[in-house]
């Protein structure tokens, strides 16, 4: 268990470095939902190219790591262990897509980049999505048994 916390801390620092590069070099906030959403709805405009390159790195490097290492803890192939209930997956995807664009940010934009800037909006968003997430797990997992 504690080894997972160390992996978490080390991975977290790398995520923070990624955000620092995107901010200090490119002058942008590293928010996954904003980067993807702007491409989906066409609002990215002249930024589209650099966003696509960002996504190539975000998708490509873990793909290579998963092929070379498998699961990071060495328990076999890399997996997400997501539920096989596709109805739940579709509902969750829609909620995440609608919600992050409405709130203008997700775990990376509001959470990592917002909290570190002491942004009141980032902190408030994080409180709401964590509370809703906890509430969701209680309802969907413990009460309804969907996942």
């Amino acid at each position: 268990m504690q080894i997972d916390w160390l992996f978490g801390l080390a991975g977290g620092v790398i995520i923070g470095l990624a955000g620092a590069v995107y901010l200090l070099v490119n002058g942008r906030i590293m928010g996954a939902s904003g980067i993807i959403g702007g491409l989906v709805d066409g609002s990215a405009g002249s930024q589209a190219k650099e966003r696509i390159w960002f996504l190539v790195g975000l998708f490509g490097v873990p793909t290579v790591l998963a092929l070379l290492l498998g699961d990071i803890r060495g328990d076999g192939p890399a997996e997400t262990y997501a539920t096989s209930n596709l109805a739940a997956v579709i509902i969750a995807g829609l909620l995440v897509g609608v919600g992050t664009r409405m709130a203008n940010g997700c775990t990376s934009g509001h959470g990592v980049c917002g909290i570190s800037r002491l942004s009141l909006r980032g902190i408030a968003a994080t409180v709401f999505y964590i509370m809703a997430g906890g509430f969701g797990v209680v309802i969907f997992k413990h009460l309804l048994g969907w996942v």
Binding site: G8, G11, G12, V13, I14, I15, L17, A18, G19, A20, L23, L24, V25, G27, R28, A32, I36, G37, V40, D41, W53, F54, G57, L58, P62, L65, I72, E79, T80, Y81, A82, T83, L86, A88, G93, L94, L95, V96, G97, V98, G99, T100, R101, M102, A103, G111, C113, S116, R117, S119, A124, A125, Y129, A132, G133, G134, F135, G136, V138, H142
Partner: protein, 143 residues
């Protein structure tokens, strides 16, 4: 150059998500599951990520980005309806399956049918989000 550093940043982001275990939905749901077997890993990830970002923000004072342009201005500290409703909807979806936008892309190659379905549904959700928001605005105006 912008594209190169965007690629590097995205690659680091993916590496961090992969190493931290955030592409494993059990760890994310474990953090949210306060009534189950609670898993504190996500707090370590968040804490670890905030340290370099905090330093990065402090370096933006009186400077400009290395490749030109301006740093993003701090938004008005207004906590509006969209922020609250949007974050709540996002949180519910996040709790339901344990994926958020970054890890969903990072795990696409090994996430199977569920992973691909999630990303597709998320894209549709992002596309229709302005329409949902307009409906809510209209409903709120009518009250």
């Amino acid at each position: 150059m912008r594209n190169l550093f965007a690629l590097i940043s995205g690659g680091l982001f993916g590496t961090g998500l992969f190493i931290s275990g955030m592409t494993d939905t059990r760890k994310v749901q474990g953090w949210l599951d306060v009534f189950g077997e609670w898993d504190p890993t996500l707090a370590f990830v968040m804490g670890g990520a905030i340290i370099p970002m905090f330093i990065a923000w402090s370096l933006t004072n009186n400077r400009t980005p290395a490749l030109g342009g301006m740093f993003p201005p701090k938004p008005d500290p207004v906590i509006g309806r969209n922020l609250i409703i949007g974050s709540t909807l996002f949180g519910l979806g996040w709790g339901l399956v344990g994926l958020c936008p970054g890890p969903a892309i990072a795990s696409l190659s090994f996430g199977g049918l569920q992973g691909a379905t999630f990303v597709l549904a998320m894209g549709v959700g992002m596309y229709i989000s302005p329409m949902v928001k307009a409906r809510l605005d209209a409903a709120a105006a009518a009250v």
